[in-house]
Symmetry: C2
Subunit: 219 residues, 2 copies
């Protein structure tokens, strides 16, 4: 098997600001994407950028997105226009001794490319499966699969992970040497996303327990 | 005082997909923005969209963003090019009885416009203050303020909140009537962002306790 190509093969996917935070390992890209539920998809509509949150799923080095066949952003993306898709995790607030050096700890993946409309029925189902499993692991096998009408109403698009970059910031603030003696607390306030207690649908018939795929889910 | 104008005065800021989730109250916009730490800023660079996470602060109906004067995205935004800025909160995974109706509960604010470079020194400091306070309440007064060199290296940009939309999804899945009798659990798994235990900077001199602005912070 060939080695996976490194990240950042083009100018626009090469991290310039804060280059010491850049990662070039494809495993880091996969890890940041796999840890997320929603990314932000940007397209250009009438010359102006539009960025909206959307779910996604990954299969190898292909990212799948979906949406209503009527959505303007997806129609724009379907036409092969360039897109940018970004997934960000916030890991902490970085308190510095100066206002200037306040920051956040984060993991961020940015993918550039043009989306490919998925027309093959098998690949459409694959895309919907990884999308569903990214959002709700175990749900694809446990729930009713999409029928023909639902498949027809759903545009599935593929985005290749060739052109991508990853930035990760960790650790304490990067204060100036001159500020280290100031009597000001500095450090990191960690942020974590936690899953709460499952809230059953009010229309659920009696006797249907919360399944392990929900109650046992960790993030 | 005049009443605040409603949201969504233009075609592109009028929610079309899932219109029942749209909010038109300006207070909802402020609430979604005020609850966030980081948004996603999209600009067009060489004809392609680029979307990156960035901090922000709000003062009335003006949003302030900042960044290095050298960053390409901010240089593009400074030239008056159109931008889109989106803040999204994930509130839960919506488990449905069908794969098709899986969803997320969320709050999302989308702002369209062109950024105005802030050149007035007083407004630049105001922008940096609200940016710092959004990220770390209490830090502006407790830490060293930006000096002349830092101010010169920081571009502050203002984005008017005139053209904006808010979408909020809450509640259980919207399953089809025909699926309600399926023996499949359905409901919501809530997601919350929580703040952890403060991690002091290793370079902190002894005797500096965690201040209440950090230890008492709630989100």
């Amino acid at each position: 098997m060939d080695a996976a190509p490194p990240l950042s093969p083009t100018a626009r996917s090469t991290v310039r600001r804060g280059a010491k935070r850049a990662r070039t390992d494809r495993a880091d890209l996969h890890a940041v994407l796999d840890a997320g539920l929603v990314g932000h998809l940007a397209v250009v509509l009438d010359g102006a950028p539009v960025v909206l949150p959307t779910g996604y799923g990954r299969h190898g080095d292909t990212l799948y997105l979906h949406g209503s066949t009527g959505a303007a952003t997806l129609r724009a993306a379907r036409a092969g226009a360039p897109v940018c898709f970004t997934v960000t995790h916030l890991d902490g607030v970085v308190y510095a001794r100066s206002a200037f050096h306040h920051s956040v700890n984060y993991r961020c993946a940015v993918v550039h490319g043009a989306m490919r409309p998925v027309t093959d029925p098998e690949e459409q189902v694959l895309g919907l499966r990884v999308l569903t499993e990214q959002l709700a692991p175990g749900s694809w096998d446990a729930t009713r699969r999409p029928d023909r009408k639902e498949l027809a109403a759903t545009a599935v698009l593929a985005l290749d992970l060739t052109e991508a970059s990853v930035k990760i910031r960790t650790g304490p603030p990067g204060d100036d040497e001159r500020d280290l003696s100031l009597p000001v607390w500095a450090g990191v306030l960690p942020i974590t996303s936690v899953l709460g207690r499952p809230e059953p649908c009010p229309l659920l018939p009696p006797g249907i327990a919360v399944p392990a795929r929900v109650s046992g889910r960790r993030w």
